[in-house]
Assembly symmetry: C2
Homo-oligomer: 357 residues x 2
DNA sequence: CTGAAAGCGCTTACAG
DNA sequence: CTGAAAGCGCTTACAG
């Protein structure tokens, strides 16, 4: 906790010599260097990175707006990010995404004032305000958006999942088992939800299977009992589905609960497919068939992309015409990456009754 | 992104005047102030907090070491922390706890070099190394430990759950239902696990009910299939338990799976109690009886405690005898807080067969 | 009201 | 090899 000045005084040398000795730069005699190093160790000296940040114009921090702390999906994304950032010597300053929705400009101002080098935005839901998007532009720093696509964020790099393809694969799996009365409980408020809905519709159309209006079942939030209630209704209707494709594993859990409470057995009376492959999904009974995402890889790639943008920027000539920095920040064309998903067939899906055997 | 110097130049005033105008301090005429503010807005000026941090000796950041991104328990703790920190104008720099175990000193050096004002340690498992503990002492900043107690960390404030009391309540619940063959699947590697084991033993002793050796069932990790395998063994043994108290909800999930796969029904053939009340626990079937913790409140209190330590420190006279800062950092006696738990009785527990009805 | 100067904790050319 | 000086982006007494 001693300062450079203190160490210099103790050693009876100049600030410059001490600085060089401690940062391993040449220009100090070995004897002096040893003396300085030893005093630094004794006084518990730690270089002040805030000073470095000011001097170099790089804080080696990145802003991370995140929410979805409610399941291991978000948690694993963050884990992947933390690992890559740590290895690249960047530290994340984390702020809850909810705050970005409600007082987003303030959050971004904080990031700007802390001089973060870039931004990792993991926004599980809720479209940010116009003010937020404007402030985002003012930041003039590399940004990578994760998981959800937003209107107004098309200009930033993106890393997410193959939501459309996953829903197609899940639907085709159910169709191949012989299901025709195939419902979809979907969530329209996030881009992932919309993409999965489209995947379902696409696969159904491809197979030439009609979608009964009642089987297209929208929910407004998936942490309420809405999915449960809607499933009970569906199952009690005159034309109940034989299979339900769910927006995600949470919904699937409620669908299974609803079926169980209605006296039905999964998968004998109803097949259920989730999306995510949360930790619990292989541990519940019946083990859940689901479209497995790879959240750690999403987090890793997102962070790696940001780090690479940051390094590129550093490489780029610092001098130049006005506006060049901005140009570099926006990069050429924004890159979108979608990490592959994989259908995990487990025990919650089977051929409908009377089919297959 | 303009600097103070730039704005001063544009406005034709001194640095000092500009500084005062922008920070709302008196000593500038209204006309000048307005001119400066308007230029600042146009040039998108953001004060550099890194400079403030250096000048004031407070970075307004805290280090947060965290892991357990694998369930909503840890996630909610973090949520609670983020909320309180944000309101108190502190920003967290987050590093994965795993790194603290493997290269802990390096992580703490990073925190020291970034001049975090305090530390929030949320360590789900794994005793940190001696080097880590030493470096922790060198930090000389307020520290609050969360959830797990460690040897070597007794000198820091702590916020956790009533683990012992929770296990007692769960055991008494099962005893009251009439269970006598009451097994416990426990986890000895964390302090919470040990406290819960003690709670079980205490309640059993109080009730004068003997614990069959086989019913004391230790697992080495709860993210493997160990709990599942051990439960299958237990249930197939000559004296199977009629109820199992589980270290946490993840274990309970596997116990229910094992019972189901063994052709048993929960709670008819076996009662199961968890610990945590994770998101899923009220959604699975049977709905899980569990000791509900309050992770958001844990996070909130831990952060609030740290903030209050930080403010106290600021109040304290900066001058004084050598060593006073250290004394303030350690505070008087460390405070331990345990957030109450609540037994949530749901559908996974019932009277043993042949009892009660 | 306004400006010049010192200082926060460093690093980095630049002289000796 | 070593020291004095300028500078990073500010704030804060201190003179005018």
């Amino acid at each position: 906790m001693a300062s450079l000045a203190e160490i210099s005084r103790i050693c009876g040398v100049s600030l410059g010599a001490t600085s060089k000795a401690l940062s391993g730069k040449p220009g100090v005699s070995d004897a002096t260097r040893q003396r300085i190093l030893s005093v630094a160790a004794q006084t518990n000296y730690r270089p002040n990175r805030l000073v470095h940040a000011i001097q170099r114009g790089r804080s080696m921090t990145v802003g991370l707006t995140c929410s979805d702390f409610h399941s291991d999906f978000g948690g694993r994304i963050v884990e992947g990010m933390l690992k890559v950032l740590y290895e690249a010597s960047y530290d994340p300053i984390v702020i809850n995404w909810d705050l970005c929705v409600h007082e987003g400009e303030k959050v971004l101002r904080t990031f700007a004032e802390r001089r973060v080098d870039g931004l990792l935005m993991f926004p599980p839901a809720d479209q940010p305000s116009q003010d937020y998007l404007q402030e985002l532009r003012n930041l003039r720093r590399p940004i990578v958006v994760v998981d959800q696509v937003f209107a107004g964020c098309e200009c930033y790099d993106f890393v997410g999942s193959q939501d459309f393809e996953g829903a197609v694969a899940a639907t085709e799996h159910l169709l191949a088992l012989g299901h025709r009365r195939l419902a979809n409980i979907f969530f329209r408020q996030t881009s992932t939800g919309r993409a999965r809905l489209e995947g379902y519709q696409h696969a159904m159309a491809q197979a030439g299977v009609a979608i009964h209006g009642k089987w297209l079942c929208e929910i407004g939030q998936y942490e309420s009992n809405e999915a449960y209630v809607r499933t009970r209704e569906l199952l009690a209707s005159p034309e109940p589905p034989s299979a339900i494709l769910c927006f995600n594993d949470w919904v699937a859990l409620d669908v299974i609960a609803a079926a169980t409470d209605a006296g039905l057995s999964v998968p004998r009376d109803l097949s259920v497919v989730g999306f995510a492959d949360l930790q619990m999904s292989a541990h519940i009974r019946p083990r859940l068939t689901t479209v497995a995402q790879d959240p750690r890889e999403i987090g890793r790639r997102a962070a790696a992309r940001l780090v690479s943008l940051l390094e590129d920027r550093e490489q780029a000539p610092a001098v130049g015409k006005i506006g060049e920095a901005a140009a570099v920040a926006q990069a050429a064309a924004p890159v979108s990456e979608r990490v592959p998903v994989k259908l995990e067939v487990r025990d919650s899906t089977a051929a409908p009754r009377g089919v297959g055997k």
